[in-house]
Subunit: 397 residues, 4 copies
């Protein structure tokens, strides 16, 4: 409980904007640009980091988030893949598991984790199922930084973790050390962290708009409803009847109603931002698409507050963040317009009913909702420009 | 205004269940069954209607709802297509416009409306864009019944229509005569109606669960939020950039936020049920699928009321309705499981937050949300068993 | 070998058209019509069969072909489901496995095969994986007819079966009794068969156009190339990485190049029709869609023969077959226009290169390519009108 | 005719491999790699080009190929967008037309072509419909290079163009100057070209495997059959009924049978390679997916030649080409594994029938089939490393 309160205080500071200035490691707020000149300049602006190459290992590389990490790292100018591990596929060329990399000559073969060497490795990305990361992270040499893409270190409160995930926490001694890696709102802490708990996909799309608004008391903490829709990559690559093509195509349905494990993570973030406990309603839906999360969020506004003010607050909050775009005018965020990119697009609309507003938030669940944000965290934690390897424009159509 | 109050009173009676017994024209509540014996028996149970063939004309047959009417009518044992009209495609065989009917020898060619003959026609289905049905309906001979699939006669209050659709009402003198054809809740009135306003797709999926609960005061009239998702058939067949394959596939986005024209229709129905004005929040989303509407509806319950009671009330309400299925246990309605059928599947879930519940409602927008319900209305209005031609099971996968 | 030659002789007779008149059990060639009057008349026209109800058991009902059988049987006026068996799901209500049947009250629960009773069962549909049907069929009481949807009895030549399926044939004594159920070309034999080997999906779409043309020597037996595309239902419901939504969506690839197990089945049929051995090239492709098979078939024509003659021959061949439609003019068959129906649509086109033609053939793999044809076979074998339960129009869009 | 023979001679030289060494402008055959060190080294290896920024204008930027050019150019380290023109959307921010660029601050607004300035522009990409590029290209200042993505300059023989496109050639005087930009096979000529005719999507996927095999006489020139499948982006963004979501989803069909306009382009390339006229069979199919072309190509091999030899020849041909990958072993090319990338993946398989082989070739139609190859042509023509801006890995899933 004590740790939670501490975490709260720090986060509140962050959420109110103070954190934004607290780290020199981030890019100087440049929007996505093109042209090698600006890029080189940007690199130079990262003191001490220019030219440095970060060597990374990916544990659990056979899943979709592993493949997406590899895709993004291949265009990262200062990262190098040291090893890719996977248990069942160990020994195979990575391209046998993910044929889209057939043309890439330099990728290492998959190895069992026990055969992977941490020698010279700076950062480990853990892409394991929940309840398996605790043990892994505990085994990583102390000089390696870890970005954990599972849920294992996301919940600061250990009993909450154990209740929702229905397993004992496997590394309670490390939990206080873990920093919640919602980059834009927790940059300062990530910059010095050794263990970064990479946020869940749904929580990322929810907290980016909601946390600043709660922190600034522009919306009420009661009655927040998050209606979320996700592409099927969110369900992973393990074969299951429910994610077969014929079971997902041309149809949709909610799942995990009032019981999805991202709920406590969302509520943790919103509570931190609000400075008091927040409960919310969250309904995920499985969509007939591969990538993307869209959240339609219904909020009650503080007395007299209209959508325009909510939007202005978000614009101010993210003015220097190139991966969070508050859309102009009445433009409606759509998942297809962030596909393949590290962007979160947001807009805010008045409801017809006074005191209510509707926020739309979109991300690519595999990028900003997983591997992209993981690399963003790596960049921050390693003192690299935050955007490195992440400026690829969305792939549409 | 007077007419609206009258309508209210009648509807309240219906919504409270009294209406269910008020008509002899409906099937005796048999669930979907198979076997010719039961079918024949069911037909016999419709007094005076056995053997009678209803001749129908379809105006605006070149759109998706027209095609779906034709598909359903082809397996209707007591219906016969007299004419199919369309302006731009007049003169063409129907199979040239909809090649899925290439094997059907007996379909009439498309004709211009002015060349269609109402001789011997019992029922006209109007599948025109809004603002065009008024004039058509006014021109149909008085002895023909009309089922209008447009929005033109759905709103009892003419100024409301004119405000939301931004055109003058073209046949105000006929409006009082129009009956809102939400079959399960308005059966008695439909049975004697000449003009049936076939409900919109979104409003059908919303009102079926919400109207009885409001009428029985099991939920509050405040704070109803309908997060709706629809397949692309809802946007029709007219070529538009926004509904091209590449603009819809692998992505989704809300549209018409707080401004969709189905809002006043939903609110009309909910207000009638509640006996007092109801405003609600409604957000439609365009899905990467062809058919189906799913609505995730967030409601505040009356003090002490839990999901189980809401569900019990709906089970009682629809016990004898074969096209509304309240699912057992925690089964989650999914659009793919109603695809191609006239079903509405519903279930109710407790939220984690006291006083809130979540209702899931699914239909096929082209069937129960349009052409299927239109035929159901025809059956009722013509004294046929309500289910005729509508018992096709969902097409999944 | 003897049995094969015999089979050949019979099939040649059939393919040349003699068979079409050989059975009185089939409908009198009526196209799909609507209206109860005609339907009732059609029923009456089936001597001895009117009113008779066929009781069926479905073994292996948990797969997609099982579910499609159930869907079609529910609208079959003279069929009744006696039992549905499945091993792993035994004990469950069918609607728990296929929620689209949640509204159907009268379906029996799934049982283990050992608990199914054949009492009063007229027809057994076997929907098991290959190599499992032999044993099942051998165990069915002799008074039951069997329609086997697996490949187990399709190949008359046992060594060919054993080579391609790489297992011993489990019931060689029954093989001579099995009739290949390509309805339109083998109707007379099916009418008296006890064991019907229901054709494979790809072979159905290939043989319907090719067999008559080979038999009439309008095309050469050399150089036939079948480029086939199938929806993912063809791969079944067992969870496999390769048929996950994200692995199938927005992409396509061939598989089983020059090695697919439907090859010997196609070649058997073409050889029978040609009266001499035919080898062909066959390349299946997995498509990002649920249902449908399209085959683009490249043939070399007999000297001087053009597409128009091929087409005329097919029109003559299928003039009285309501489920095979040779399209008019230059209309191009498309899978979406047969979706959910028992139709095979075909057209023939001249290539720019002399002596070559292109045939397009489309079916719904789950209907005409599996469960629909199985019911058609049941109808024929039981002396019912061939079309019963199968006249549902395609579901498009 | 003279020009055609000349072109032939040059192309034959190229196709036989001589061309590969003829240009110093291409990258030294490095596979796709990551790491800034190698990248910088690669840049330095391009004599005279290091640091140089190419300014480009995109004419017809409102179509899908325009958007894809912008996406790729944004990550091109030595390119800068000078203007984006479009007629109907002139005056709009580009992000209003393509919202995926909402976060990119530096893009110019769309202008009418007449308002675009060629000042300082090095390269013009023409993304106009066919028959409109002739005039445009004629109007571009002589010092600008042009990469024309239309069909207008692809056919060296003007009567062939006029016959297949059914319009007069609008700039016959420029045709001899145009170089057919199939990069890997025509690099030397592209290096010095002012007008590059960017190849069509289908022809690219067909010629890359077929041209070297024909040139080396490993396959016969008779009997080549190309069964091609394309995503819907190939049909462009202009609203048409046939490319609406509901008309494309869950189905497929061939189109343009024996009459598609890419046929003469394919035959031109194959004839050049073979040194004598080649006719082939080509059937495109519209797929329910956004991106990707797969071609299943049936060829007759020279006596005694097997798939392994065809494959070896292709491996040798493309050993130094990083964007053409001949897959290892029996790996089957799939469109999803090239999605978003500039790759062409190819493999070759023996048929069961002697003397026949099957070649599978996949590209992303918008990248290697259009905008990616256009940029590759720009790089070659401007003396930049060929891979600049084109090494993004495929986006899968």
């Amino acid at each position: 409980m004590a740790s939670r309160l501490l975490f709260c205080a720090a986060a509140l500071a962050l959420a109110s904007g103070a954190g934004a200035a607290a780290t020199g490691a981030r890019a100087s707020g440049a929007p996505l640009v093109r042209g090698v000149a600006r890029r080189l300049a940007a690199r130079m602006a990262a003191p001490g980091a220019a030219g440095k190459t970060v060597r990374v290992g990916v544990v659990g590389a056979s899943g979709y988030t592993g493949a997406e990490l590899v895709r993004l790292l291949l265009s990262h100018p200062q990262a190098e893949i040291a090893f890719l591990s996977a248990e069942r596929s160990a020994g195979k060329p990575y391209a046998e598991v993910y044929p889209q990399f057939a043309h890439v000559k330099a990728l290492p073969n998959l190895v069992k984790l026990e055969d992977a060497s941490y020698d010279g490795v700076d950062v480990v990305f853990a892409c394991l199922p929940h309840a398996m990361s605790h043990k892994l992270v505990a085994s990583v040499p102390a000089r390696c930084k870890v970005v954990d893409l599972s849920a294992d270190f996301r919940l600061a409160d250990i009993p909450t973790y154990e209740k929702w995930y229905n397993v004992p926490h496997g590394a309670p001694e490390l939990q206080p050390e873990a920093v919640y890696g919602l980059c834009e709102l927790n940059r300062a802490k990530v910059a010095t962290a050794r263990i970064v708990a990479n946020p869940g996909c749904y929580p990322t799309a929810a907290q980016l708009p909601l946390a600043p608004l709660l922190s600034q008391r522009l919306i009420l903490k009661e009655g927040i409803i998050i209606d979320a829709k996700s592409g099927a990559t969110g369900a992973g690559r393990a074969p299951k009847e429910g994610t077969l093509f014929c079971e997902v195509a041309d149809g949709l349905a909610p799942y995990g109603i009032a019981s999805h494990r991202h709920l406590p993570e969302i509520e943790q973030g919103l509570s931190l931002a609000a400075g008091e406990p927040v409960m919310c309603t969250f309904t995920p839906h499985l969509m007939p698409m591969s990538r993307g999360i869209e959240e339609t969020i219904y909020v009650r506004t503080a007395p007299g507050v209209r959508a325009a003010q909510l939007k202005a607050a978000l614009q101010a909050q993210y003015a220097n963040d190139e991966f969070v775009a508050i859309l102009d005018g009445g433009a409606v965020p759509a998942t297809r317009h962030v596909r393949g990119s590290n962007l979160c697009t947001i807009n805010v609309f008045d409801d017809r009913i006074d005191g209510q507003a509707i926020i739309i938030s979109c991300i690519d669940n595999l990028v900003k909702g997983a591997s992209g944000q993981a690399i963003q965290n790596m960049n921050i934690a390693c003192g690299l420009p935050e955007h490195l390897g992440l400026r690829g424009a969305p792939v549409f159509p």
